[in-house]
Amino acid sequence: MKHSINKLEETPSQTAGPYVHIGLLPHQAGFDIFANNFSHEIAGPDTKGERITIEGMVFDGSGAPIRDMLLELWQANAEGRYRHPADRQQGKAIDPGFRGWGRTGTDFASGLYTFETIKPGSVVGRSGTKPMAPHVSLWLVSRGINIGLSTRMYFDDESEANAADPVLNLIEQPARRKTLLGHRGSRDGKTVYRFDIHLQGAHETVFFDV
Protein backbone atom coordinates (compact mmCIF):
# COMPACT_ATOMS: atom_id res chain seq x y z
CA MET A 1 0.00 0.00 0.00
CA LYS A 2 2.10 2.85 -1.29
CA HIS A 3 -0.47 5.60 -1.02
CA SER A 4 -2.67 6.01 1.97
CA ILE A 5 -6.30 6.99 1.57
CA ASN A 6 -5.91 9.08 4.71
CA LYS A 7 -5.44 12.81 4.43
CA LEU A 8 -1.94 12.85 5.87
CA GLU A 9 0.94 10.38 6.08
CA GLU A 10 2.37 9.40 9.44
CA THR A 11 5.66 11.08 10.34
CA PRO A 12 8.47 8.61 9.52
CA SER A 13 10.41 7.00 12.36
CA GLN A 14 14.14 7.45 12.93
CA THR A 15 16.44 5.67 15.35
CA ALA A 16 16.51 6.94 18.94
CA GLY A 17 20.32 6.92 18.67
CA PRO A 18 22.91 6.33 21.40
CA TYR A 19 22.00 9.43 23.40
CA VAL A 20 18.30 8.77 23.90
CA HIS A 21 18.89 8.97 27.65
CA ILE A 22 19.48 12.73 27.48
CA GLY A 23 15.88 13.36 26.57
CA LEU A 24 14.11 10.46 28.20
CA LEU A 25 16.30 9.41 31.17
CA PRO A 26 18.62 12.37 31.88
CA HIS A 27 19.91 10.85 35.13
CA GLN A 28 21.27 7.90 33.18
CA ALA A 29 22.93 10.32 30.72
CA GLY A 30 24.69 11.76 33.76
CA PHE A 31 22.93 14.97 34.72
CA ASP A 32 19.96 16.35 36.61
CA ILE A 33 17.66 18.83 34.86
CA PHE A 34 13.95 18.17 35.49
CA ALA A 35 12.23 18.41 38.87
CA ASN A 36 10.03 15.42 38.01
CA ASN A 37 11.52 12.40 36.27
CA PHE A 38 9.86 9.40 34.68
CA SER A 39 11.29 6.11 35.84
CA HIS A 40 11.17 2.33 36.07
CA GLU A 41 9.10 2.49 39.27
CA ILE A 42 5.62 1.96 37.91
CA ALA A 43 3.95 0.98 41.17
CA GLY A 44 3.77 3.69 43.84
CA PRO A 45 3.37 3.18 47.59
CA ASP A 46 -0.44 3.06 47.33
CA THR A 47 -0.73 0.79 44.32
CA LYS A 48 -2.92 -2.27 44.82
CA GLY A 49 -1.72 -5.68 43.69
CA GLU A 50 1.10 -8.18 43.92
CA ARG A 51 4.48 -6.43 43.84
CA ILE A 52 6.80 -7.79 41.19
CA THR A 53 10.10 -6.96 39.54
CA ILE A 54 10.48 -7.52 35.81
CA GLU A 55 14.09 -7.71 34.68
CA GLY A 56 16.19 -9.07 31.88
CA MET A 57 18.54 -8.31 29.06
CA VAL A 58 18.16 -7.56 25.38
CA PHE A 59 20.52 -9.47 23.07
CA ASP A 60 21.70 -8.49 19.61
CA GLY A 61 22.34 -10.83 16.68
CA SER A 62 25.83 -11.69 17.95
CA GLY A 63 24.44 -12.73 21.33
CA ALA A 64 25.83 -9.68 23.13
CA PRO A 65 23.66 -7.78 25.61
CA ILE A 66 22.61 -4.36 24.31
CA ARG A 67 23.64 -1.81 26.90
CA ASP A 68 22.04 1.30 25.42
CA MET A 69 18.47 0.05 24.98
CA LEU A 70 15.49 2.07 26.17
CA LEU A 71 12.35 0.16 27.14
CA GLU A 72 8.87 1.40 27.96
CA LEU A 73 6.21 -0.69 29.65
CA TRP A 74 2.43 -0.23 29.55
CA GLN A 75 0.04 -2.38 31.54
CA ALA A 76 -3.36 -2.69 33.18
CA ASN A 77 -3.82 -2.50 36.94
CA ALA A 78 -4.34 -5.45 39.29
CA GLU A 79 -8.03 -5.67 38.32
CA GLY A 80 -7.19 -5.69 34.63
CA ARG A 81 -8.21 -2.12 33.85
CA TYR A 82 -6.18 0.39 31.86
CA ARG A 83 -5.99 3.93 33.14
CA HIS A 84 -7.30 5.41 29.91
CA PRO A 85 -10.73 6.65 28.76
CA ALA A 86 -10.92 4.02 26.00
CA ASP A 87 -11.13 1.30 28.66
CA ARG A 88 -14.84 1.09 29.40
CA GLN A 89 -14.84 -2.37 31.00
CA GLN A 90 -17.60 -2.69 33.56
CA GLY A 91 -16.96 -3.69 37.16
CA LYS A 92 -13.23 -2.88 37.21
CA ALA A 93 -12.04 0.19 39.08
CA ILE A 94 -9.26 2.62 38.22
CA ASP A 95 -6.49 2.48 40.83
CA PRO A 96 -5.67 6.13 41.64
CA GLY A 97 -2.18 5.07 42.74
CA PHE A 98 -1.27 3.54 39.40
CA ARG A 99 -0.78 4.88 35.87
CA GLY A 100 0.69 1.66 34.51
CA TRP A 101 3.51 3.18 32.47
CA GLY A 102 7.25 3.46 33.01
CA ARG A 103 10.53 3.59 31.17
CA THR A 104 14.06 2.42 31.83
CA GLY A 105 17.39 1.89 30.12
CA THR A 106 19.54 -1.22 30.13
CA ASP A 107 22.51 -0.68 32.43
CA PHE A 108 25.58 0.68 30.62
CA ALA A 109 27.78 -1.91 32.41
CA SER A 110 25.66 -5.02 32.93
CA GLY A 111 23.01 -4.66 30.22
CA LEU A 112 20.27 -5.44 32.74
CA TYR A 113 16.92 -3.61 32.71
CA THR A 114 14.49 -3.51 35.65
CA PHE A 115 10.88 -2.47 36.21
CA GLU A 116 9.23 -2.33 39.64
CA THR A 117 5.51 -2.83 39.22
CA ILE A 118 2.52 -5.02 40.08
CA LYS A 119 1.15 -8.03 38.29
CA PRO A 120 -1.72 -6.93 36.02
CA GLY A 121 -5.13 -8.57 35.91
CA SER A 122 -6.73 -10.09 32.85
CA VAL A 123 -8.18 -7.68 30.24
CA VAL A 124 -11.01 -8.36 27.78
CA GLY A 125 -9.98 -9.45 24.31
CA ARG A 126 -11.38 -8.25 21.01
CA SER A 127 -15.03 -8.99 20.39
CA GLY A 128 -15.57 -12.70 19.93
CA THR A 129 -12.32 -13.70 21.55
CA LYS A 130 -11.53 -14.93 25.04
CA PRO A 131 -10.15 -12.61 27.71
CA MET A 132 -6.46 -11.91 27.33
CA ALA A 133 -4.13 -13.53 29.85
CA PRO A 134 -2.31 -11.07 32.11
CA HIS A 135 0.48 -9.37 30.17
CA VAL A 136 2.46 -6.16 29.85
CA SER A 137 3.20 -4.36 26.58
CA LEU A 138 6.80 -3.37 25.89
CA TRP A 139 8.29 -0.92 23.39
CA LEU A 140 12.01 -0.93 22.62
CA VAL A 141 14.15 1.72 20.94
CA SER A 142 17.89 2.26 20.60
CA ARG A 143 20.73 3.05 18.27
CA GLY A 144 20.44 0.69 15.30
CA ILE A 145 16.69 0.26 15.69
CA ASN A 146 15.05 2.29 12.93
CA ILE A 147 11.49 1.93 14.20
CA GLY A 148 10.44 0.98 17.73
CA LEU A 149 9.81 -2.71 18.43
CA SER A 150 6.58 -3.82 20.12
CA THR A 151 6.23 -7.00 22.10
CA ARG A 152 4.40 -8.42 25.14
CA MET A 153 5.50 -10.26 28.24
CA TYR A 154 3.16 -12.91 29.63
CA PHE A 155 3.60 -14.67 33.00
CA ASP A 156 4.78 -18.29 33.04
CA ASP A 157 2.76 -19.08 36.18
CA GLU A 158 -0.47 -18.38 34.27
CA SER A 159 -0.32 -21.47 32.08
CA GLU A 160 -4.09 -21.98 31.95
CA ALA A 161 -4.82 -18.38 30.96
CA ASN A 162 -1.90 -18.35 28.54
CA ALA A 163 -3.18 -21.50 26.82
CA ALA A 164 -6.45 -19.66 26.11
CA ASP A 165 -4.94 -16.29 25.22
CA PRO A 166 -6.21 -15.05 21.84
CA VAL A 167 -2.93 -13.30 20.96
CA LEU A 168 -0.55 -16.11 21.94
CA ASN A 169 -2.73 -18.51 19.99
CA LEU A 170 -2.38 -16.41 16.85
CA ILE A 171 1.34 -17.12 16.71
CA GLU A 172 1.79 -19.83 14.14
CA GLN A 173 4.69 -21.73 15.69
CA PRO A 174 3.87 -22.85 19.28
CA ALA A 175 7.59 -22.79 20.19
CA ARG A 176 7.74 -19.07 19.41
CA ARG A 177 4.98 -18.33 21.96
CA LYS A 178 7.47 -19.25 24.67
CA THR A 179 9.61 -16.24 23.71
CA LEU A 180 6.91 -14.06 25.30
CA LEU A 181 7.00 -15.72 28.73
CA GLY A 182 8.52 -14.05 31.77
CA HIS A 183 9.90 -16.64 34.20
CA ARG A 184 8.86 -16.35 37.82
CA GLY A 185 11.47 -16.60 40.54
CA SER A 186 12.28 -14.96 43.83
CA ARG A 187 15.21 -13.07 45.29
CA ASP A 188 15.50 -11.61 48.79
CA GLY A 189 11.82 -12.33 49.35
CA LYS A 190 10.76 -10.42 46.23
CA THR A 191 9.04 -11.89 43.19
CA VAL A 192 11.14 -11.42 40.09
CA TYR A 193 10.11 -12.25 36.54
CA ARG A 194 13.03 -12.72 34.18
CA PHE A 195 12.28 -11.68 30.62
CA ASP A 196 15.14 -11.75 28.12
CA ILE A 197 14.54 -10.38 24.64
CA HIS A 198 16.43 -11.66 21.60
CA LEU A 199 16.47 -9.48 18.50
CA GLN A 200 17.74 -12.33 16.30
CA GLY A 201 18.76 -15.97 16.41
CA ALA A 202 17.16 -19.27 17.38
CA HIS A 203 15.25 -17.65 20.24
CA GLU A 204 14.21 -14.47 18.39
CA THR A 205 11.42 -12.83 20.38
CA VAL A 206 8.04 -12.39 18.71
CA PHE A 207 7.61 -8.72 17.78
CA PHE A 208 4.23 -7.37 16.78
CA ASP A 209 3.08 -4.99 14.09
CA VAL A 210 0.41 -3.32 16.20
Binding site: E10, R88, V123, G148, Q200
Partner: protein, 242 residues
Protein backbone atom coordinates in the same frame (compact mmCIF):
# COMPACT_ATOMS: atom_id res chain seq x y z
CA UNK B 1 -15.75 9.17 10.76
CA UNK B 2 -12.89 8.47 13.10
CA UNK B 3 -13.59 7.31 16.62
CA UNK B 4 -11.85 9.08 19.47
CA UNK B 5 -10.87 5.71 20.91
CA UNK B 6 -11.10 3.44 17.86
CA UNK B 7 -8.47 1.08 16.54
CA UNK B 8 -5.55 2.56 14.67
CA UNK B 9 -5.17 2.51 10.91
CA UNK B 10 -2.64 -0.07 9.87
CA UNK B 11 0.81 1.48 9.89
CA UNK B 12 2.04 2.18 6.35
CA UNK B 13 5.53 0.71 6.72
CA UNK B 14 6.56 1.92 3.24
CA UNK B 15 7.11 5.43 4.55
CA UNK B 16 9.22 4.24 7.51
CA UNK B 17 12.76 2.89 7.36
CA UNK B 18 12.92 -0.92 7.32
CA UNK B 19 14.53 -2.60 10.33
CA UNK B 20 17.54 -3.79 8.32
CA UNK B 21 19.46 -1.01 6.55
CA UNK B 22 23.08 -2.22 6.04
CA UNK B 23 24.44 1.22 5.13
CA UNK B 24 23.53 2.18 8.73
CA UNK B 25 25.73 -0.57 10.16
CA UNK B 26 24.36 -0.81 13.69
CA UNK B 27 20.99 -1.91 12.29
CA UNK B 28 22.44 -5.20 11.02
CA UNK B 29 22.71 -6.90 14.42
CA UNK B 30 19.70 -5.08 15.92
CA UNK B 31 17.02 -5.85 13.32
CA UNK B 32 14.63 -8.77 13.82
CA UNK B 33 14.93 -11.35 11.05
CA UNK B 34 11.47 -12.89 11.37
CA UNK B 35 8.56 -10.77 10.03
CA UNK B 36 6.57 -8.87 12.64
CA UNK B 37 3.40 -10.69 13.69
CA UNK B 38 0.47 -8.48 12.66
CA UNK B 39 -1.89 -7.91 15.55
CA UNK B 40 -5.36 -6.45 15.45
CA UNK B 41 -5.69 -3.86 18.17
CA UNK B 42 -7.02 -4.76 21.59
CA UNK B 43 -7.39 -2.47 24.58
CA UNK B 44 -3.66 -2.99 25.18
CA UNK B 45 -2.85 -1.09 21.98
CA UNK B 46 -5.60 1.56 21.81
CA UNK B 47 -4.90 2.76 25.36
CA UNK B 48 -1.74 4.45 26.57
CA UNK B 49 -0.40 6.67 29.34
CA UNK B 50 -2.00 10.07 29.93
CA UNK B 51 0.24 12.92 31.08
CA UNK B 52 -0.82 16.10 32.87
CA UNK B 53 0.64 19.63 32.96
CA UNK B 54 1.51 19.39 36.66
CA UNK B 55 4.11 16.73 35.82
CA UNK B 56 6.20 19.27 33.89
CA UNK B 57 8.18 22.24 35.15
CA UNK B 58 7.73 25.83 33.89
CA UNK B 59 11.07 25.83 32.00
CA UNK B 60 10.98 22.25 30.72
CA UNK B 61 10.26 23.47 27.15
CA UNK B 62 12.92 26.21 27.19
CA UNK B 63 16.37 24.74 26.45
CA UNK B 64 17.93 28.21 26.60
CA UNK B 65 16.91 28.59 30.25
CA UNK B 66 16.36 25.10 31.66
CA UNK B 67 20.06 24.41 32.31
CA UNK B 68 21.44 27.97 32.34
CA UNK B 69 23.87 28.41 35.24
CA UNK B 70 26.18 31.32 34.39
CA UNK B 71 24.30 32.66 31.35
CA UNK B 72 22.61 31.54 28.15
CA UNK B 73 24.08 28.69 26.09
CA UNK B 74 26.21 29.46 23.03
CA UNK B 75 24.57 29.10 19.63
CA UNK B 76 21.94 30.35 17.22
CA UNK B 77 18.82 31.17 19.18
CA UNK B 78 16.13 29.00 17.62
CA UNK B 79 12.41 28.37 18.00
CA UNK B 80 11.02 24.99 16.98
CA UNK B 81 7.27 24.79 16.85
CA UNK B 82 4.50 22.94 15.07
CA UNK B 83 1.27 21.04 15.36
CA UNK B 84 0.64 17.39 16.16
CA UNK B 85 -2.11 15.94 13.97
CA UNK B 86 -3.36 12.46 13.19
CA UNK B 87 -3.70 10.97 9.71
CA UNK B 88 -7.18 12.44 9.47
CA UNK B 89 -5.68 15.89 10.19
CA UNK B 90 -7.29 16.04 13.62
CA UNK B 91 -5.26 18.08 16.13
CA UNK B 92 -3.88 15.95 18.96
CA UNK B 93 -4.18 17.75 22.29
CA UNK B 94 -2.32 16.79 25.45
CA UNK B 95 0.41 14.90 23.61
CA UNK B 96 3.74 14.64 25.45
CA UNK B 97 6.56 15.78 23.15
CA UNK B 98 10.12 15.26 24.42
CA UNK B 99 13.23 16.44 22.56
CA UNK B 100 17.00 16.09 22.93
CA UNK B 101 19.91 17.37 20.92
CA UNK B 102 23.64 18.19 20.78
CA UNK B 103 24.87 21.66 21.68
CA UNK B 104 25.96 24.24 19.10
CA UNK B 105 29.33 22.49 18.76
CA UNK B 106 27.80 19.07 18.11
CA UNK B 107 28.53 17.66 21.59
CA UNK B 108 25.98 15.81 23.69
CA UNK B 109 25.76 16.03 27.47
CA UNK B 110 26.00 12.26 27.87
CA UNK B 111 28.49 10.02 29.68
CA UNK B 112 29.03 8.01 26.48
CA UNK B 113 29.74 10.96 24.13
CA UNK B 114 33.52 11.22 23.67
CA UNK B 115 33.58 13.82 20.87
CA UNK B 116 36.17 16.49 21.74
CA UNK B 117 33.93 19.47 20.95
CA UNK B 118 33.33 21.10 24.36
CA UNK B 119 30.36 20.67 26.66
CA UNK B 120 28.46 23.93 27.11
CA UNK B 121 28.05 24.52 30.87
CA UNK B 122 24.72 26.25 30.25
CA UNK B 123 23.13 23.70 27.97
CA UNK B 124 21.49 20.45 29.06
CA UNK B 125 20.08 19.58 25.67
CA UNK B 126 16.64 18.27 26.48
CA UNK B 127 13.12 19.60 26.84
CA UNK B 128 9.51 18.50 26.97
CA UNK B 129 6.04 19.92 26.65
CA UNK B 130 2.38 18.96 26.22
CA UNK B 131 0.49 20.05 23.11
CA UNK B 132 -2.28 22.59 23.64
CA UNK B 133 -5.96 22.21 22.71
CA UNK B 134 -5.08 22.75 19.02
CA UNK B 135 -2.23 20.23 19.12
CA UNK B 136 0.45 22.94 19.05
CA UNK B 137 3.85 22.76 20.73
CA UNK B 138 6.71 25.27 21.09
CA UNK B 139 10.34 24.91 22.16
CA UNK B 140 13.14 27.44 22.44
CA UNK B 141 16.71 26.21 22.01
CA UNK B 142 20.00 26.78 20.21
CA UNK B 143 20.57 25.16 16.83
CA UNK B 144 22.57 21.92 17.26
CA UNK B 145 25.89 21.44 15.45
CA UNK B 146 26.85 18.61 13.13
CA UNK B 147 28.87 15.80 14.67
CA UNK B 148 30.79 12.74 13.46
CA UNK B 149 29.69 9.19 14.20
CA UNK B 150 31.39 5.89 13.61
CA UNK B 151 29.53 4.42 10.69
CA UNK B 152 32.03 5.07 7.97
CA UNK B 153 35.13 6.91 9.10
CA UNK B 154 33.86 10.15 7.56
CA UNK B 155 30.18 9.92 8.54
CA UNK B 156 28.53 13.06 9.88
CA UNK B 157 25.11 13.69 11.28
CA UNK B 158 23.26 16.71 9.90
CA UNK B 159 22.06 19.21 12.48
CA UNK B 160 19.08 17.45 14.03
CA UNK B 161 16.78 17.35 17.03
CA UNK B 162 15.48 14.03 18.37
CA UNK B 163 11.72 13.90 19.00
CA UNK B 164 9.77 11.43 21.15
CA UNK B 165 5.99 11.64 20.81
CA UNK B 166 3.16 9.94 22.68
CA UNK B 167 -0.29 9.82 21.16
CA UNK B 168 -3.45 8.80 22.97
CA UNK B 169 -2.66 5.08 22.47
CA UNK B 170 0.54 3.10 23.00
CA UNK B 171 0.49 1.89 19.37
CA UNK B 172 1.04 5.50 18.23
CA UNK B 173 4.35 5.70 20.09
CA UNK B 174 6.95 7.32 17.84
CA UNK B 175 10.56 8.47 17.99
CA UNK B 176 12.03 10.41 15.10
CA UNK B 177 14.54 13.13 14.21
CA UNK B 178 13.95 16.61 12.84
CA UNK B 179 16.35 18.19 10.36
CA UNK B 180 16.75 21.81 9.20
CA UNK B 181 15.75 23.15 5.79
CA UNK B 182 18.61 23.59 3.36
CA UNK B 183 21.17 21.38 5.13
CA UNK B 184 23.43 19.68 2.53
CA UNK B 185 24.43 17.02 5.08
CA UNK B 186 20.98 15.34 4.92
CA UNK B 187 21.59 13.69 1.55
CA UNK B 188 24.87 12.20 2.85
CA UNK B 189 23.45 10.99 6.17
CA UNK B 190 23.25 7.21 6.60
CA UNK B 191 20.43 7.57 9.13
CA UNK B 192 18.16 9.99 7.24
CA UNK B 193 18.74 7.86 4.14
CA UNK B 194 17.40 4.71 5.84
CA UNK B 195 14.08 6.10 4.59
CA UNK B 196 13.68 5.12 0.93
CA UNK B 197 11.09 7.72 -0.09
CA UNK B 198 12.62 11.22 -0.57
CA UNK B 199 9.21 12.79 0.07
CA UNK B 200 9.09 11.04 3.46
CA UNK B 201 12.57 12.32 4.36
CA UNK B 202 11.42 15.81 3.41
CA UNK B 203 8.62 15.57 5.98
CA UNK B 204 11.34 15.35 8.66
CA UNK B 205 12.85 18.64 7.48
CA UNK B 206 11.63 21.62 9.48
CA UNK B 207 10.93 24.66 7.32
CA UNK B 208 12.20 28.13 8.06
CA UNK B 209 9.25 30.10 9.45
CA UNK B 210 10.11 33.79 9.45
CA UNK B 211 6.64 34.81 10.56
CA UNK B 212 7.07 32.85 13.80
CA UNK B 213 10.55 34.23 14.39
CA UNK B 214 11.02 36.82 17.11
CA UNK B 215 12.58 39.91 15.46
CA UNK B 216 16.05 40.77 16.77
CA UNK B 217 15.95 37.65 18.98
CA UNK B 218 15.32 34.12 17.60
CA UNK B 219 14.73 32.47 14.23
CA UNK B 220 11.89 29.92 13.96
CA UNK B 221 11.49 26.57 12.22
CA UNK B 222 8.20 24.75 11.84
CA UNK B 223 7.89 20.97 12.21
CA UNK B 224 4.43 19.41 12.07
CA UNK B 225 4.05 15.84 13.29
CA UNK B 226 1.50 13.27 12.12
CA UNK B 227 0.51 10.32 14.31
CA UNK B 228 -1.56 7.31 13.28
CA UNK B 229 -5.28 7.94 12.95
CA UNK B 230 -8.11 5.93 14.46
CA UNK B 231 -10.73 3.98 12.56
CA UNK B 232 -14.44 4.36 13.01
CA UNK B 233 -15.63 1.80 15.52
CA UNK B 234 -17.83 -0.50 13.48
CA UNK B 235 -19.83 -3.36 14.88
CA UNK B 236 -17.55 -6.12 13.53
CA UNK B 237 -14.38 -4.73 15.00
CA UNK B 238 -15.82 -3.35 18.21
CA UNK B 239 -13.79 -4.14 21.27
CA UNK B 240 -15.51 -6.05 24.02
CA UNK B 241 -16.42 -3.92 26.97
CA UNK B 242 -17.12 -0.83 24.85
Amino acid sequence: MADEYGEFYQRNRDIHPPALTPTYKTSVLRSPRIPLWSLQNSLSEVTGPVFTPDELGPLDHDLIKNYAHTGDPVGERTIIHGQVLDEDARPQAGVLVEIWQANAGGRYRHVNDRYFAPIDPNFGGCGRTLTDAEGRYWFRTVKPGVYPFRNYINSWRPAHVHFSIFGSGFAQRLITQMYFEGDPMIRHDAIAQTIADPAAIDRLVAKLDLNASIPLDSVAYRFDIVLRGRRATMFENKLQGN
